[in-house]
């Protein structure tokens, strides 16, 4: 079982991804709607973090930096509903392994990516 954490202020999206991933039975999924709370609870046993970029409490890029600083081994996949190339590059620079655009092409895209990077 892989430990997956979802950080997204949009409750519906976080719940949906959580539901989808949990359903497969391969993942242990936990979702946070507030990145500050998430930073407190995340442990080093987490394999992949699905991180939204635009959140009111703290920007996804900042959360990315903090997480990478604390747990460099965690694979982080960025998610955003609105992206620019700059943000993509920045995410890459700060250590994100992938970048998913919302709306997702399919939910299967998420699980495929998780599998690819945790292989």
């Amino acid at each position: 079982m892989k430990n997956i954490v979802i950080i997204d202020d949009e409750v519906e999206i976080a719940s949906m991804i959580e539901k989808f991933l949990s359903k497969s039975g391969n993942y242990h999924v936990k979702s946070f709607h507030n990145p500050l709370v998430a930073l407190e609870h995340i442990q080093d046993d987490v394999d992949v973090v699905l991180l939204d970029i635009m959140m009111p409490q703290m920007g996804g890029l900042e959360v990315l930096q903090k997480l990478k600083q604390k747990y460099p081994q965690i694979h982080i996949i960025m998610m955003t509903a609105y992206s620019t190339l700059d943000k993509v590059l920045d995410s890459h620079r700060y250590g994100a392994v992938h970048y998913l655009m919302k709306p997702f092409k399919s939910l299967g895209e998420i699980s495929a990516k998780i599998e690819e990077i945790t292989r």
Partner: protein, 590 residues
């Protein structure tokens, strides 16, 4: 004549005048003697009267005489007998001059009684000779010291001195007059010379001169003026100035104009159209002043200068026309410029609008994408769940509806994606950039990933985080951040491909940056097996990807678009069992 000669002449003249006056004085003296004699007659009468008082007869002897001597105060009387007392004796006694003696002898012979003025040692005496009636040969001689005589002589002397003084004054005045006359003559000559000179200047001046009288008749005209108007002097002098004007109306206007100006003092540089003898119209610049400023100009002469400025006026007209043309052009250009500026402003406004729409679309896309994400996701999950429905027809119907819903949602997602692209238009400005520097930056960004995949060689040197950014200089003018994005995309693509094959030791990525005649060339060459020929032709098309998972397939298409904006070219080909991406950027002119 020199002053010396003049004064000598004057001296001689004065002497002559003095002599002449002396002669006149002599005549005056003689006449005075006569007057003197008359008075002596009276005196004689008084002597007779005195004698009669004492004697009945006018016969007296020496004793009587002596007696009389005492009766008449202030005078000495002597009686002498020519036999006893001779004139010679008197001469000796009174030291008479020979001339005097002769004169007295003559007088004695001629007349009975007489007086004679004598200058003796003691002074002037009136000597009176009275012939005794009883003794014809005897004379009573009285010597009377005469103040009058002295005064007369002093007066004569004074008169003489005054005359001399007057003569000197007169001669001085005469001299002055002569000098004045000479000066006047000299000045007259000078004036004549100056006049001659002035006439010479007047006639030879390189500007037309004209003198006219109060009736506007031409009194004088110089050669230049005659030449300008095509007349001879004889044809102009005495004529009315209307001869120079194109019409009587024009002449009347001219008269009115100059009368107004002359009333103010002078006419200065007035331009007027006049006429030559051959009827050719010319532009003249005229200036005029009254000859005598004290006099009313209408009563006296006026002096005019006139210059033919036809050529100048024509030139000015040409210049004026050109100026007008230029002004027109300037106005036109300004108008065009205003229009251009207006258009530019409008464009700018449109840009602002687009920018606003862009910014707005950023928010809109985010806001719409969020619900779209969970609608789409949930639809996907619903569709999966529907597979478990046992009723086949219901299942098919629900899946069909779900598919329709998904299609609709996908259409919305496509529209939102387009809006997002529009919102991503860059506002960066182009600047001279060292391409080598941007490559190092991109490699530093990719290092986190590349360090696990392969070694990268930049211009034949292995890239490390310590690689200098300034070792090579390949300058292009472009948007720095955009070009860095292109390098990231290409490097990441290469890393993705390399990751699929071989080991860390086997994998290679070579990047070469160099300058040719026209371009800065950047060549990315990997040994990842190359690109499938099928894909190669459309590799820069959007949504084309060699990646099995995750890649959006837009990286290279966006890169191509960016490069086109930076006047760059990108090519992809296979070489030596690997893929090559060659980018050419227009190098900056030095």
């Amino acid at each position: 004549m020199s002053n010396y000669k003049r004064y000598t002449t004057l001296g001689i003249f004065s002497i002559f005048l003095f002599f002449f006056i002396f002669m006149i004085q002599q005549r005056m003296y003689n006449s005075n003697v006569k007057i003197f004699l008359e008075s002596e007659v009276l005196f004689e009468q008084s002597i007779y009267d005195a004698l009669k008082l004492k004697h009945d007869k006018l016969s007296f002897d020496l004793e009587h005489i002596l007696e009389i001597e005492h009766t008449i105060s202030g005078a000495q009387y002597f009686t002498f007998d020519t036999k006893v007392q001779t004139l010679s004796h008197i001469k000796e006694l009174y030291s008479l001059s020979l001339d005097d003696l002769k004169n007295i002898e003559n007088k004695i012979k001629e007349s009975r009684n007489f007086s004679y003025p004598l200058q003796l040692k003691e002074g002037w005496y009136a000597v009176t000779f009275i012939k005794c009636l009883q003794h014809p040969d005897t004379f009573i001689v009285s010597f009377r010291k005469s103040q009058v005589l002295e005064n007369i002589y002093i007066n004569r002397l004074k008169q003489l001195l005054i005359l001399v003084f007057i003569v000197i004054i007169l001669s001085y005045m005469l001299n002055l007059l002569l000098l004045r006359a000479k000066k006047l003559t000299s000045e007259k000559n000078k004036i004549a010379l100056a006049l001659q000179e002035a006439n010479l200047y007047f006639d030879n001046a390189m500007i037309g001169f004209l003198v006219i009288d109060k009736n506007k008749k031409i009194i004088k005209a110089n050669r230049f003026l005659c030449k300008e108007f095509g007349y001879t002097k004889e044809e102009l002098i005495g004529k009315n100035t209307d001869i120079l004007h194109i019409s009587s109306l024009s002449y009347a206007k001219w008269c009115e104009l100059i009368t107004t100006k002359l009333k103010e003092g002078s006419v200065e540089h007035v331009r007027y159209k006049m006429k030559r003898k051959d009827d050719q119209e010319i532009y003249v610049e005229a200036s005029g002043v009254p000859f005598d400023k004290e006099k009313d100009f209408l009563e006296g002469f006026t002096v005019w200068t006139m210059k033919d400025i036809t050529q100048q006026v024509e030139n000015e007209n040409i210049i004026k026309e050109q100026e007008e043309y230029l002004q027109q052009r300037v106005i036109e250009e300004v108008r065009k410029n205003i229009e251009r500026t207006k258009a530019y402003e409008e464009e700018k406004l449109r840009d602002v609008k687009f920018s606003a729409i862009g910014k707005l679309s950023a928010g809109i896309t985010h806001e719409i994408n969020t619900p779209l994400t969970y609608i789409k996701g949930n639809l996907e999950m619903m569709k999966l769940d529907m597979q478990d429905i046992s009723d086949a027809s219901l299942k098919q119907e629900l899946i069909a509806s779900c598919t329709n819903l998904q299609e609709g949602v996908n259409r919305i997602a496509t529209i939102i994606s387009s809006m997002q692209e529009m919102a991503q238009q860059s506002n960066e400005t182009k600047e001279p950039v060292n391409i080598y520097d941007t490559l190092v930056t991109a490699l530093i960004l990719a290092h986190n990933r590349s360090k696990h995949i392969c070694k990268i060689y930049l211009n034949n040197k292995e890239f490390t985080l310590d690689t200098s950014k300034t070792e090579f200089e390949c300058i292009c003018t472009l948007q720095k951040q955009r070009i860095e994005q292109v390098w990231i995309v290409i490097i990441n693509n290469a890393l993705d491909e390399l990751q699929k094959k071989g080991t860390f030791q086997e994998r290679r990525l070579r990047i070469d940056c160099f300058v040719d005649e026209q371009y800065v060339v950047v060549k990315f060459k990997d040994n990842g097996g190359g690109i499938d020929e099928e894909i190669l032709a459309q590799i820069f098309e959007p949504f084309v990807s060699t990646k099995t998972h995750g890649g959006m397939g837009v990286g290279l298409s966006i890169s191509k678009k960016i490069l086109q904006e930076q006047d760059g070219i990108i090519e992809a080909y296979n070489e030596d069992g690997g893929a090559v991406f060659e980018v050419k950027l227009l190098k900056s002119a030095i």
